[in-house]
C-alpha cells in the first residue's frame, strides 16, 4: 500500500517534523469531545422524542453488534502494529465461527470459544507463513485466506454437522448458552434513570446501563481486551518490541529483537482475536454456526481499525459507531435515523460556527447550507427510507473520516516486506 522505504533516516528533512502528524489526543480533550457529542445526542432525543436512540437496550444491542467488529479490528491492530496488513480477518472470523460452533456443540460453549480462537490462530499462522517467511504481498495472502476459509468451512460443514440433531450442511447444532450477567442493583437503577428522560443524565445512564445489563461474559472479555491490548502494546516490553517491528524492523533487529518471532506472534494473536470474534458470532450472538454468518464484518473491523488510527481506543469508538448505528437501524430504523438527521443538522451548524470563527467564511457558508438542507429534510418528513437507514453507518464513517483523516498515522513499516540481515 505504500512505496517501500529504506531505513535511511539521514535524508529525512528534519526541519519539518511537525508535518501534520496529529499528536495523540489527550484524554481530557477526548472526554470533552465525547461528552459534547453525547450532549448533542441528548438534545436531539429530547426534541425528537426518539427515546430509542439512547436507551439501555439500544446500547446493549449496540454493544453486542460491536463486539465482533471490535474483535476483528483488534486483530487487525495487532497484526498491523507488527507491520503485517491483515485483510484476511474476514476469513479468520469465518474460521472462528466454524471452529467455535463445532467444538461448542459437542463439548460446551467455553471449549467452543477456545476452539474458535484456535481456528482463527490457524488462519493467522498461515498468513504469517506466507507473508513473513515467504514475503508475499500481504493483501494477496489475505484475499487468498478469505477464499480458503470460506471454502474450507463450507467443505467441512456437511461433514461435521450433518446428521447431528439440528445440524445441516449449512448450520451447526445448537451450542449451549455461555451465560450472561446483569449487575443487580446498578442495572435497574440506571434503567430507571434512563427512563426519566432527563437531559444528558439519562443518556449517560443509558450508555452505562448497556454495559451492565444482560452482558455476555464473552462481551465482557471482548471489552476488557481493548484496554488490555493497549496495556500490553504500550506498557510492556513485549508490546514495545512488537510495535518496533511495525515501525522499523531493521532497527529492532539491530537491537537483538527477533523480528520474525514477533511478527509471527502478532499475526497469530491477530488471527486468534478474529477467531474469538467469530466464536462470539456463533456462540453468543447466535447459538450456532451458519453459513454466511460473518457477512463482511472482517472488512468493517479493518475499517474500524483505520478509523481508530491504529489505536485501541479509537478502534473501540469506531466499532461502537458501527454497532450503534446498526442497532439503531435494527431497532426501529426509520424514526431513529430520522432523529439523526437533526443531529447531523446541529453538528453542521456547530461546524459552520467553528469555521466562521476560524475565518473560513466560504467553508462556513457551504456547511451552513448543507446543514439547512439536512434540517429541511428532517422537518419535511417523518421517516427516512429504509435504504437511507441501511446506509447510515457507512455514510457516517465516511463523513467522520473525511473530517479527521489527515491525522491518520499508520505504523511506518506496515505492509512492507522484511528480510533478516538486509538492514543498513
Amino acid at each position: 500500500m505504500t512505496a517501500p522505504t529504506t531505513a535511511t533516516d539521514v535524508n529525512q528533512p528534519s526541519l519539518q517534523p511537525a508535518a501534520p502528524t496529529g499528536r495523540r489526543m489527550s484524554w481530557p480533550v477526548l472526554l470533552l469531545v465525547i461528552a459534547g457529542a453525547l450532549a448533542l445526542v441528548s438534545i436531539v432525543r429530547i426534541i425528537t422524542g426518539a427515546d430509542g436512540i439512547t436507551n439501555v437496550s439500544q446500547m446493549s444491542t449496540a454493544l453486542q453488534l460491536a463486539v465482533p467488529i471490535g474483535l476483528a479490528g483488534l486483530g487487525g491492530l495487532w497484526a498491523e502494529r507488527a507491520g503485517v496488513v491483515n485483510i484476511g480477518l474476514e476469513g479468520m472470523l469465518i474460521l472462528g465461527t466454524w471452529f467455535g460452533a463445532w467444538a461448542g456443540f459437542q463439548w460446551g460453549p467455553w471449549t467452543g470459544v477456545l476452539a474458535g480462537i484456535i481456528g482463527g490462530c490457524l488462519g493467522g499462522l498461515l498468513h504469517a507463513v506466507v507473508t513473513v517467511t515467504f514475503r508475499v504481498n500481504h493483501i494477496v495472502s489475505g484475499v487468498a485466506i478469505n477464499i480458503l476459509a470460506l471454502g474450507a468451512t463450507r467443505y467441512l460443514a456437511p461433514l461435521a454437522f450433518e446428521g447431528h440433531q439440528g445440524g445441516s450442511a449449512k448450520q451447526s447444532p445448537a451450542v449451549e448458552p455461555l451465560g450472561h450477567f446483569t449487575v443487580p442493583g446498578l442495572s435497574d437503577a440506571l434503567r430507571d434513570l434512563n427512563a426519566k428522560g432527563w437531559f444528558f443524565v439519562s443518556d449517560i445512564a443509558g450508555l452505562l446501563g448497556g454495559l451492565v445489563t444482560n452482558v455476555s461474559w464473552l462481551t465482557l472479555i471482548a471489552v476488557a481486551l481493548i484496554p488490555a491490548t493497549w496495556w500490553i502494546l504500550w506498557r510492556t516490553a513485549f508490546g514495545l518490541r512488537l510495535r518496533s517491528c511495525g515501525e522499523n524492523p531493521v532497527a529492532a533487529e539491530s537491537l537483538g529483537v527477533n523480528v520474525y518471532k514477533y511478527k509471527y506472534l502478532a499475526v497469530i494473536i491477530s488471527g486468534g482475536l478474529a477467531g474469538l470474534g467469530g466464536a462470539f458470532l456463533s456462540i453468543v450472538a447466535n447459538p450456532f454456526y451458519l453459513e454466511g454468518q460473518v457477512s463482511g464484518r472482517g472488512y468493517i473491523g479493518l475499517a474500524a481499525m483505520i478509523f481508530g488510527n491504529w489505536m485501541p481506543g479509537g478502534l473501540a469508538i469506531g466499532a461502537g459507531l458501527f454497532g450503534y448505528t446498526d442497532s439503531l437501524n435494527l431497532r426501529g430504523g426509520s424514526t431513529n435515523v430520522h432523529a439523526l438527521l437533526l443531529l447531523g443538522a446541529l453538528l453542521l451548524l456547530v461546524g459552520a460556527i467553528w469555521l466562521a470563527i476560524r475565518k473560513k467564511y466560504v467553508h462556513a457558508v457551504i456547511t451552513l447550507i448543507v446543514g439547512a438542507l439536512v434540517f429541511a429534510w428532517y422537518a419535511g418528513t417523518n421517516e427516512v427510507p429504509n435504504q437511507v437507514v441501511a446506509a447510515t453507518p457507512y455514510v457516517i464513517t465516511l463523513v467522520v473520516l473525511a473530517l479527521s483523516a489527515q491525522r491518520l498515522r499508520m505504523p511506518k513499516a506496515d505492509g512492507l516486506p522484511y528480510r533478516k540481515g538486509q538492514g543498513g
Binding site: P13, S244, G256
Partner: protein
C-alpha cells in the same frame, strides 16, 4: 590486552566478495579507525562483529575469547554496541522507547529507564529528552540518541560507522570529546569515517581495507592523510578543485525573497534571494535540516512557495509544475537517489526515462519510444562508465556509485540550463566522485548554472564559484571559496557567524587546519547544545 580480534573474516554476497580474509585487532581502551573506499566492506565487517551477519569464514574473539554470534543480541551481551551508518531509529516511537528497545530487562521501560537515560545524558552532555518522538529530532540529536542507545546497554566496545557524515565540524569535535572520555573509562571504539583528517586527530590505530581485504595498518602520528588515501585507493587522491572561472553575467536562475512555511506557520525558508549565472556554481553550506531540502523542493516545484518569485532566465516560473520546469531545462540530482531519483525495481532504460518522459528521445508526442530510450541508455552507460552487464537489469542491482552515474548521465543528456545538484557524490567512492565532478565542471564550462548542496565541505569549497551558508531557513552568510576554510564555514553553519566570512590566514592543509581548529576557542566544544536541535 585486545578488546576485539577479527581473524580471516570472509563474507560473500551473491556475486560480490564483501570481505576477504580480513584481520583486525583492537586494543582495549583505544580508538581504532577503519578506513576504506565506498564498498570496501567496512560496514559489512562491522555487521559481522555485531552479529547482524554471519561470516562465511574466520573467527571473532572478544577479550581473547572466541565467540560466535547468531544475532545482535549475542553481541550486545558481549558488550558490543554499534551506531549504524544509517540511523536505526523508529520515527514513531519516543526516544525512550528507541533506547530501551531490546534491553528492557535492564531498567524496564518506565520511570527507572527514564531516570537512567537522563543520568547518562547528563553525564556525557548529550542533552537528550526521553519523551520526544524521534521524528521530531534533528540529525545531530538522532546521532546522540544512537550513541546513548549503545551506552545504555553498557557496551564496552563501541562501533561507530560513519558517525560524522552528517555533523558539522563543531559537532564532530564534541563527539570526539565524548569518545576520548569513553576511552579514558577503558572503553574501546571502532571508528569508521571517510574524513581522513578526523581520523588522524582521533584514532590511536588505523586499519585500511581496500576491496574487501586488509591492506595495512597505520599509526596516526606517522601518517599524513595523503598517505592514508593512497593506501585506500592505491592511487592519488583526486581533488575537487575548480580550474579557471567560467562565470558569465547572464543570470540563469534568480530567486527573490522566497518564503515557505510549515503547516503550523513556522517559516522553513525565509527571505531567500540569490542569482546564479551561466557558468556559475553556487554552493550552499549548511547543517542538514536547515532548509536545504525545502529550497530544492521549491526550485524543482515539489513545494509551492508561499511568497517570493523564481525566475528562469527571463521567465517567471514560480507557478510552474515540476514537469514543466524539467522540460524547460532544470536538471535535478536528488539528495536521496533511492527515494527521488530512481525506480529501483525498474530496468535501467526505464530509469533513463524517469523525469524526462515527455522529452526526446524518450517520447514521440503522446507515445513512449522505448527503442530510442534504450539506445540512449546504452550511450549513457558507455559515456558515463556505468558498470552494468546491460540496460535490462534493475537499478537496484547497481552499486550506489553506478546508480549515481546513471542519474548524472540522464540529467546531463537533456542539456539543462540549470542543475540542482544535491549531495551529488554522497556515498560514492573516489573514482566515481572524480568522474561526477568532471561532468559537472564540463557542463559549467558550457554555460550551465549549478546549485550545489553538499555536506562535504571540501567538495563545496573546491567546486563552487560562490558560497552561501543556510541556517534555520535563511541565507545567513556568504564566503569566497578561494580563501574560506571548512572551520569558518562550520562556524557559520551553526549560526555563530553571519555576513561575509572574512578569512584569517592559516597556512596548513585543510586536514591539519582542522586539528588546529579544534583548539581554537569559540568554535569548539559547544556543539552538543547546538541550537538547531534544541530549538525543536
Amino acid at each position: 590486552m585486545t578488546a576485539v580480534e577479527l581473524a580471516g573474516i570472509t563474507k560473500r554476497f551473491p556475486g560480490v566478495v564483501a570481505n576477504h580474509d580480513i584481520h583486525l585487532t583492537v586494543r582495549k581502551g583505544t580508538v581504532h579507525a577503519l578506513v576504506g573506499e565506498n564498498g570496501a566492506g567496512k560496514s559489512t565487517l562491522m555487521k559481522i562483529l555485531y552479529g547482524m551477519q554471519k561470516p562465511d569464514e574466520g573467527t571473532i574473539a572478544i577479550h581473547g575469547e572466541t565467540v560466535s554470534f547468531s544475532s545482535p543480541a549475542d553481541a550486545i551481551a558481549r558488550g558490543i554496541g554499534m551506531v549504524h551508518q544509517h540511523f536505526m531509529l523508529a520515527d514513531n516511537l519516543t526516544v525512550l522507547e528507541n533506547v530501551v528497545l531490546g534491553s528492557e530487562k535492564l531498567y524496564g521501560i518506565g520511570a527507572k529507564a527514564r531516570r537512567r537515560i537522563k543520568e547518562l545524558s547528563e553525564r556525557y552532555g548529550l542533552g537528550i529528552r526521553p519523551d520526544l518522538l524521534v521524528e521530531e529530532l534533528g540529525v545531530a540529536a538522532r546521532q546522540r540518541v544512537e550513541i546513548l542507545k549503545v551506552l545504555y546497554r553498557g557496551a564496552t566496545t563501541l562501533i561507530l560507522d560513519e558517525p560524522t557524515a552528517v555533523l558539522v565540524p563543531q559537532e564532530v569535535d564534541a563527539l570526539f570529546d565524548n569518545l576520548r572520555e569513553l576511552k579514558a573509562e577503558g572503553l574501546s571504539v571502532i571508528f569508521i569515517s571517510h574524513k581522513l583528517g578526523e581520523i588522524l586527530s582521533v584514532a590511536d590505530d588505523i586499519t585500511v581495507i581496500r576491496r574487501g581485504t586488509t591492506v595495512g595498518t597505520a599509526v596516526p602520528a606517522e601518517t599524513t592523510s595523503r598517505q592514508l588515501a593512497e593506501m585506500m585507493v592505491g592511487s592519488e587522491l583526486p581533488t575537487p578543485e575548480t580550474a579557471e572561472s567560467t562565470v558569465t553575467d547572464r543570470a540563469v536562475i534568480t530567486v527573490d525573497t522566497l518564503r515557505l512555511a510549515a503547516p503550523g506557520g513556522k517559516a522553513l525558508l525565509d527571505d531567500i534571494s540569490f542569482t546564479i549565472h551561466a557558468g556559475e556554481i553556487l554552493g550552499i553550506a549548511g547543517v542538514e535540516g536547515n532548509g536545504q531540502t525545502e529550497l530544492v523542493d521549491a526550485l524543482i516545484g515539489l513545494r509551492a512557495a508561499d511568497s517570493g518569485t523564481i525566475r528562469l532566465a527571463d521567465e517567471e516560473i514560480t507557478g510552474w509544475a515540476t514537469r514543466k520546469r524539467r522540460e524547460e531545462g532544470i536538471g535535478y540530482i536528488p539528495e536521496d537517489r533511492h527515494r527521488h531519483g530512481l525506480l529501483l525495481e525498474a530496468p535501467l532504460w526505464e530509469n533513463r526515462i524517469l523525469g524526462h518522459v515527455t522529452e526526446k528521445p524518450n517520447a514521440k508526442g503522446f507515445w513512449l519510444d522505448p527503442k530510442a530510450a534504450q539506445e540512449d541508455t546504452r550511450r549513457i552507460v558507455r559515456e558515463y562508465d556505468v558498470r552494468t552487464p546491460g540496460i535490462d537489469v534493475t537499478a537496484a542491482s547497481l552499486s550506489g556509485g553506478n546508480q549515481q552515474k546513471l542519474i548524472v548521465g540522464r540529467e546531463m543528456s537533456h542539456r539543462p540550463r540549470f542543475l540542482i545538484a544535491s549531495h551529488p557524490t554522497r556515498g560514492v567512492d573516489v573514482g566515481a566522485q572524480a568522474a561526477i565532478w568532471d561532468h559537472i565542471r564540463q557542463a559549467r564550462r558550457e554555460g550551465l548554472a549549478v546549485l550545489l548542496i553538499s555536506a562535504d565541505l571540501d567538495e563545496l569549497i573546491g567546486l563552487s564559484d560562490t558560497l552561501r551558508v543556510i541556517y534555520d531557513g535563511r541565507l545567513v552568510a556568504d564566503a569566497d571559496p578561494a580563501t574560506v576554510t571548512p572551520e569558518e564555514l562550520g562556524t557559520a553553519m551553526t549560526g555563530a557567524a553571519t555576513g561575509h566570512l572574512e578569512h584569517e590566514e592559516t597556512p596548513e592543509t585543510p586536514a591539519d587546519a582542522r586539528k588546529a581548529g579544534a583548539d581554537t576557542p569559540g568554535t569548539a566544544a559547544d556543539a552538543p547544545e547546538s541550537p538547531e536541535d534544541e530549538a525543536r
